[in-house]
Structures are given as structure tokens and as C-alpha cells.
Symmetry: C2
Subunit: 503 residues, 2 copies
């Protein structure tokens, strides 16, 4: 989920100055409009430690006209608060119509911190998120505009940031910092779940890459302006229950791109894959058989342990999915796995929900199913070719997450690979295929047509990673320009996952 | 919640015969229409033991054309099922487009039974209901028509039913029966929560009174016909996310009334209040001071224990709310309670969500707030007078339930009274007020106008009980024709609740 907020986007000083002025005056105009409306504005500022939430709150207070703006920090509960139901402290801070509340920390803070520190369990978090969703829905249908901002930092940058903060001022260092940094993974995996479950149509999350301070502030401002504009333009009663629109990353990118001209925001996760990686033939010849032998043993071991495995192979046409799958299957006893190539659905499959055809092939205990293309077709080809409506593919992120969650809850080992190549490499392979009589059947007019939609697919893959790569069901983006490198890396990844599971 | 399914509705043999024929042919017509559509039908049959779920399933199979109908009973998981994620067993039973699945037992069964038997906790139930809601939404937006039927029996009738069942046939007696009957309360309170949390716009629950077998079957048939009609008339794509319409009891009553002509279904909970109850003046003079003394002591005791109390008084104009409240307050130290009379909201209150004005007055630890009229105005006067839109008051049931749940989760003692009188008694009291110069100010033109809306208020009270009377936040419907009886009963109820809480 957070991979798409680790792309190293930056904004230059000059660009910042111009955009900042523009945003400042837009925000003041919109605040005036808000003041004369029946709506209120709640800005929730959250994210990892070190992302500069305090600076963000300061910036917001500078941008907004301070009349009718209140900033609330939720520290320890007061005496008055402890004596009443928990949400009383939030209800008393809710802004009146026409005014603004900036929530520095919010109803999200304690459920996330408690679970990350092991003081509660996942069911507690889920229960609390239900409560939060209800509250946000209640406020939103009553006219509140809820803007939820999550500021993200990659591990390495967080570490640097915290260390330099600590040098500058002991005072600013929260006592929890040390724990947080240590439990970066725990905190992120909990946050990811909280965000995913509370990313609703009436109060969506906006994940902002906070490594570059200028990019962070411009992104935040652009998103705020857009949310206010949309809400205040809409003169009707606020939507009672707009369909869950899971995630807005790409939409946000477009919005930020409208403010910035440099295109910093239009990077996708695929740009972060280093396609120059390769493996020399000698190492390949040495590593491949060793890995295959290991895989064969692990498959038997997991059979005995009755653990099942599901593998998903996706990637560009010509990326080498088929040949990678063959390297996997040839390592294992044929009784242990099945390969399910996903082409057009059968009549019976069409008569059911699109996930039904994948549920059918879920392996029994100890077995493995390898999907050659998969349920992700919904958000790849069906999205790009418009076979599915936008509403259909948007909601399928959530459906897919729930499906995969059930797999891993059951104990299934799930590996998802996207094999990435660039356009030049694809062209080279297509031409090779055309020349080779044994491979001509593998290349069709459709493959050529798909090349024109390269950018649409890039966006689709970016969204797919943003929405369906979770800490429990991560995507592996595999550099595929060098086939040998890709095959060995895939086998390695699978062996690692299986070995971990079999312990 | 179940109070409105304990009204003793019956259907005569003659009426049954006619309605049954009508329903049978309507169902066959609609099934034919379903067959030619892209929709499928899932009927979930659940409810208390002894309600005749087996008979209902038989009846459904007789009514429907058996081609394209499958009945699924979910007993213990098979080997095949255990080896896969839990919902695999449900996915494999999902009906194809055009066909019907009758689920005898369903995804609801084990979460409810587990919690009722103490094998899981409430957070587990809530988590599972989230999963179920997602599944039902997934299926529903894909075209499935999900009809969820809950058959209810009052405790006494369940007991008789189970005993006579046991006499007729040892074979039909499930081994769980004995446990269930013992844990009737636990089972009902869990079911109530499960129903409440899964009563969504895309898959609402229908609670059916099952004491009279003929009424039960006609009610079921009428609801099924109506659901099919609505869904199949609607040629558009199914709503992706219709607003949660909590409960459909009254709508169902109207639908059933359309099939039956006797009006059996148009009874409301208020009809079940025995207004002939009274107390002679001598007993009143004896009991009142004793109860007041007890209440005074309990109030101090709860102050020391730092437990807070919230009381809600609602009722017809002239029912005696004010005089009942005075009997309560005069028993207690004035530092311990506040009475909040609810009239028109202030400017500041209007600028917030309608619940904000009630949150403000939530008492501190050890204190009590008595609301003279309350947040229920939203679903009473605002509903009847159309101050709130249907969507607004419909969604407020859920908002109110969540608000009250937070109170009781915090440990607040919550008492909710509806003081009931009949129209004649109200008229008598209004006339008395007009004649008494000290009371003339208490009667206005509005009071007279409200009398014309008696039936609308009856429906509103029925819905209010159906939706907001839960095992943790029950309504007390108090017979108020005899004021003395009502006052003593109210004091008794309060003392009992407080005494229980202070233990």
C-alpha cells in the first residue's frame, strides 16, 4: 500500500513558491465559501512519526484564516473526559457549520498505537474502525467535509529524520519515538489495515509522500483545495452513502499534477524497478538447479504440514510468465500442483460472481495452485479495455483484498508476482517471436494493440500495488528484462516464503 | 428489537387458503422472470430453534419450481471444506444467474452460536459480521437478490414448541436444543446484535413472528414476493451501496397487510401494553415513599461508585412525563442530577449534528442526567411532522444505537421510558387542563393537532422499539392511564436497574 508513497517525488524551490501562493489564495477563497455554507471542515493529520505533522499543522494554520479555525491535539484524556464515554472528547471538539477543526491526532491514534504495541488484538482494531466509520458517516451525511491525510516516510528516511530531530532538540522528541522506530514494521502493517478499513466514500484517505517537505506541503494543499471544491460545488445534500472508493492515490496524483507543472507526481511504482539487474549465464546454471531442488523438497515438506500455496503470475505480454512458471513446476512433483491458465471464462463461470472461478481452484491442504494470470484481470485488462465499469473495477480492490485475506487467514502461502519489462525489451521479444516459427503462435494482433495502452497499464499496475499490496499479501515487482535474473529471483522468493511458512 | 415480533398475530384457515394460492402463483411467475434475468436468488432461513425453519424450507420448495432450486444445509464442515478457507463452502453453493439457493443455516449460524455459547467474544462476532456484510455486498452488487428471514418465537412459546416436538419425535430433536432453551436470553441478545449489524440496504433482514404457523408462512411468502418484485422490476444495475435502511418491520407489515385483509399485521407494540393496570391510592401512599427513599440511597451509592446514569422520558402529550420525573428527582440530592428539557434547539446546537446537544449533557462519573424528551424526537415528532427527511430519520436509528452503545460500554446506566395512554384518557386529561387555570398553559393548539396524528405516532413508536430496544438498551413501555401505577412502576424499574448496577 505504501509502496506508491516511496517514489522519491520532489518539488523545486521555485516551483514551490509559485504553487504555494496559488494554493494559499485558493484556500482562503474556499474558506470564505465554507463560512457561508452549512458545511464544516474536519482535517485529520496523521502518519508516521517524523513525517512533520507538526509542520503541516502550522502550515495549515498559516494558510487558513484563523477565525473559525481550531486545532485540537488529543493528548492523554483529561479527568473530565475519562469520566464520560470515550467519544465525548471528540464530540466536544466538532466544528460548527461554517468552521474548521484541525485534528492533530484523532480517533485513529489510540487504536493504531495500541495494536502496534501489542496492547490489543486485531478484532479490537476492526471493532474500533467500525465505530469510527459510523462516526464519520454520521458527521459526513450531516454536512461535515472530512479530509483525512496520512503522511508516509520510507523506513530509512524516517530513521534519518528522527535522528536529526533528536540532535536539534531533545524537547521535540516524543518518548514514543524510540519504540516507533523499532516497531516500524508493526506500526506500518497496523496503519495499513486501519487505513484500508476506513477508506470510505464519505471519508477517503489521502496518502502523501512526505520525504520531500516541499512536495509534502504542495500535495497536502492541492488535496485540501480539491476536497473543498468538490464538496462546496455540490449544492445538494451530501451523499448519504457513496460507494466505497478504495484509495485515491491516482486521482490525487492527477490533482497534484494540476498544481505542479514538473510532473513529479506522475511517477508510478514500476519506475522504481531497476531493470538493469541481470544474472550471468554461469551463475544461472549454478543457482537454478540448487533452487529447484530446494523448492521440490519444500513442496513435500508443506504437503506433510498440510499447508497450501497459491501463486499468482501477472506481467506484460512477453515478460516471461510462462517460462518462469515452467521453472517452478518442473521442480515439483506433479501431484502437488495445478496450473490454472486464465483465459476467457466459461458459460458457467460467467453465470457467477467473477471471483467464483478462482474460488473453485483453491488448493486443498498441502497442495498448490499456480494462476497464470488471475483475478487481477479485473483491474488490469478489464479496466484498461473497459470490459468492467469503473465502479466495478474500483470495488473489486476491496473484494480482492477480502478474498486474499481469507486465504492467508486460513494459512495459505500466497505469492504474487508482476514481471516487469520495458517497452523496448517487449518490442525486441515480439520481433523475435515473429521470426521464430515455433513461437509465432504466441504473438497476435492483440499483443501489438496492447502496446499502445502501455501507459494505461502502468497506471493500473500502480493502483493495483497501492490497493492490494499489503503486509500480509505483498506484491513482488520483478525486474524481467533479464529472463535468467527474473527466474532465479522468483524461485528464491518462493523458497524463502515457503521456508518461512514451514518453520 | 424482537418485541414487535411478539404481538400474537394470527391468520384464519380460510384467509390462509386464499392468500396461499395467490402467493404460490405469484412466486412461480416471479421465478420465471428471475430465470430470464441476470439475477440470482439467495434465501437465508434463520431464527430461534422451534420456529419451524424446516417447515418453512419445505414450504418454499413446494412454492418454487424445483428446477434451478437447491437447498443447502450447513452441518459440520466436510474434510474438503476444512482444508480450505472458511467461506469456500459458501462460494461453492452460490446459485448461478437465474437460479435459487435456499440456505438452511448460513454464514450467520456459527458466529451467533459461538458467541451465545461463550466460545468467542463480541469483537469476534463484529469482525465476522464485517466479513459477512462484505460478502453480501459483493454478491448483491453482482446481481444476487438476498432475502434474509429471521423467524422469532417468544420464550414461552418456544418452550412449549420444543417440548411437544420432543414428544412427537426424538429424532427431530437437535442435540443443541436443550442448551438453546436454557440460554434463550444469551442467544437472543447475540442474534439481535448480529441482525442489527448486518441489516444493510443491500441485504436487509426481515423478522417474522412465527408463533402462528399460518401467519408465519403468509408473512414469509409476502416478503419473498415483494423482494423479488422490487428487484426484478428494477432493470438497472443493482445499487452498489444503497444507504443502510435499518429494519423493515413496518414496511413488511404493510406488505403483509396487502396480502391479508384481516389486518392481523397492523398491530403495534403499544397494543400489547395492558392499560387496565392500576394501583389503589392506599398502596401508592405506602409504596411511593419507600421507593423514593431507596432511590435516594442508591443515587449516593452510585455516586461513590462513580457510575453515571442517563434517563430518557418520552410519551404522549399529557401522559404524565413531568409528574413522573418530579417523583424521581424529589427523591435525590439535587447535586446528583440534572433535568434537561428538550425543546427547540439553540443556534449553536443547530450548527452541529443533532446528537451534539445530547452529548453535551452526558453526566460525569457518579451523576445523572434526566432527559425530558430526548434524541428520540428525531424519529418521533421530526418524523411525523416531516421536519426530518425519511432518509434522515431512517439513518438515525443506527446513529442512536451507536450513541447508546457508547454510553453502556462506558458503564452508564440507561433507562428509557415511553409512558403510554390511550386516546380517551388523553382527551379526558386535555379537558381537565383546559378547565384548570393553573394548567391551562400546558395545553396548546399543537397538542390538539397532534391527536390527529395518533396513528402516525403509533407507527413511529413501533419502529422505535423495533430498532432501538436492544437487550443492553431496552425500552420500558409503561401503562400510564393510571398515573399512580405508572409512577410507582417507573421508580421500581429505576431502583432495580440501579441496584443491579451497584452490585
Amino acid at each position: 500500500m505504501f509502496e506508491t508513497a516511496e517514489l522519491g517525488r520532489t518539488v523545486s524551490k521555485a516551483e514551490f513558491r509559485q504553487a504555494e501562493q496559488e494554493l494559499h489564495s485558493r484556500i482562503l477563497q474556499l474558506q470564505q465559501k465554507l463560512r457561508n455554507s452549512t458545511r464544516s471542515l474536519i482535517i485529520i493529520v496523521s502518519g508516521v512519526e517524523g513525517a512533520g505533522k507538526g509542520e503541516v499543522v502550522d502550515r495549515l494554520n498559516r494558510w487558513l484564516d484563523s477565525r473559525d479555525v481550531q486545532t485540537h491535539a488529543f493528548w492523554d484524556e483529561t479527568d473530565e473526559e475519562i469520566q464520560r464515554p470515550r467519544y465525548w472528547r471528540y464530540w466536544r471538539c466538532l466544528p460548527a457549520r461554517g468552521s474548521v477543526a484541525i485534528m492533530f491526532g484523532s480517533w485513529y491514534t489510540s487504536p493504531i498505537v495500541n495494536l502496534a504495541l501489542g496492547q490489543s488484538d486485531q478484532a479490537d482494531l476492526d471493532e474500533e474502525i467500525n465505530r469510527i466509520n459510523s462516526l464519520e458517516q454520521t458527521l459526513s451525511v450531516d454536512g461535515a467535509i472530512i479530509v483525512k491525510l496520512w503522511f508516509h516516510l520510507p523506513r530509512q528516511i524516517q530513521k534519518q529524520r528522527l535522528e536529526s530531530d533528536a540532535k536539534v532538540s531533545k524537547f521535540k522528541k516524543s518518548p514514543l519515538l524510540e519504540d516507533f522506530s523499532k516497531s516500524y514494521d508493526a506500526f506500518l502493517s497496523v496503519s495499513e489495515r486501519a487505513i484500508r478499513l476506513s477508506d470510505t466514500g464519505y471519508a477517503p484517505w489521502h496518502i502523501i509522500e512526505a520525504s520531500d517537505l516541499r512536495y509534502r506541503d504542495i500535495a497536502m494543499g492541492s488535496i485540501l483545495v480539491n476536497c473543498l471544491q468538490e464538496a462546496l460545488d455540490d449544492e445538494q445534500e451530501p451523499a448519504t452513502n457513496s460507494p466505497a472508493r478504495p484509495g485515491h492515490l491516482l486521482d490525487d496524483d492527477d490533482i497534484i499534477a494540476g498544481v505542479l507543472k514538473s510532473g513529479a507526481s506522475k511517477t508510478t511504482v514500476l519506475d522504481s524497478v531497476d531493470l538493469s539487474q541481470h544474472l550471468d549465464p554461469a551463475s544461472y546454471d549454478e543457482q537454478l538447479p540448487a533452487l529447484q531442488e530446494k523448492l521440490g523438497q519444500l513442496a513435500w515438506q508443506l504437503f506433510q504440514q498440510r499447508r497450501n500455496t497459491v501463486m499468482v503470475f501477472e506481467g506484460w505480454d512477453g515478460a516471461g510468465k510462462g517460462s518462469a512458471i515452467r521453472r517452478v513446476t518442473s521442480a515439483m512433483d506433479a501431484r502437488l500442483y495445478r496450473v490454472i491458465p486464465i483465459a476467457a471464462p466459461s458459460d458457467e463461470e460467467l453465470a457467477h460472481h467473477y471471483l467464483w472461478r478462482f474460488w473453485r481452484h483453491i488448493p486443498r491442504a498441502g497442495h498448490m495452485t499456480i494462476y497464470d494470470r488471475s483475478w487481477y484481470g479485473r483491474v488490469l485488462v478489464e479496466r484498461v479495455e473497459k470490459f468492467a465499469s469503473k465502479q466495478q473495477w474500483l470495488r473489486s480492490y476491496q473484494e480482492i483484498n477480502e478474498f486474499e485475506e481469507q486465504l492467508v487467514d486460513h494459512g495459505t502461502i500466497l505469492c504474487k508476482f508482476w514481471i516487469h519489462i520495458d517497452q523496448d525489451e517487449q518490442l525486441r521479444r515480439f520481433k523475435l517471436r515473429q521470426q521464430d516459427p515455433r513461437k509465432q503462435h504466441k504473438i497476435t494482433d492483440e499483443d501489438w494493440r496492447n502496446r499502445d495502452k502501455w501507459h494505461a497499464y502502468e497506471e493500473a499496475v500502480n493502483d493495483l500495488v497501492a490497493h492490494t499490496s499489503t503486509s500480509r499479501t505483498p506484491w513482488t515487482l520483478m525486474a524481467g528484462n533479464d529472463k535468467k535474473f527474473a527466474r532465479v529471483q522468483i524461485l528464491k522468493t518462493i523458497c524463502e516464503r515457503m521456508a518461512l511458512a514451514s518453520q
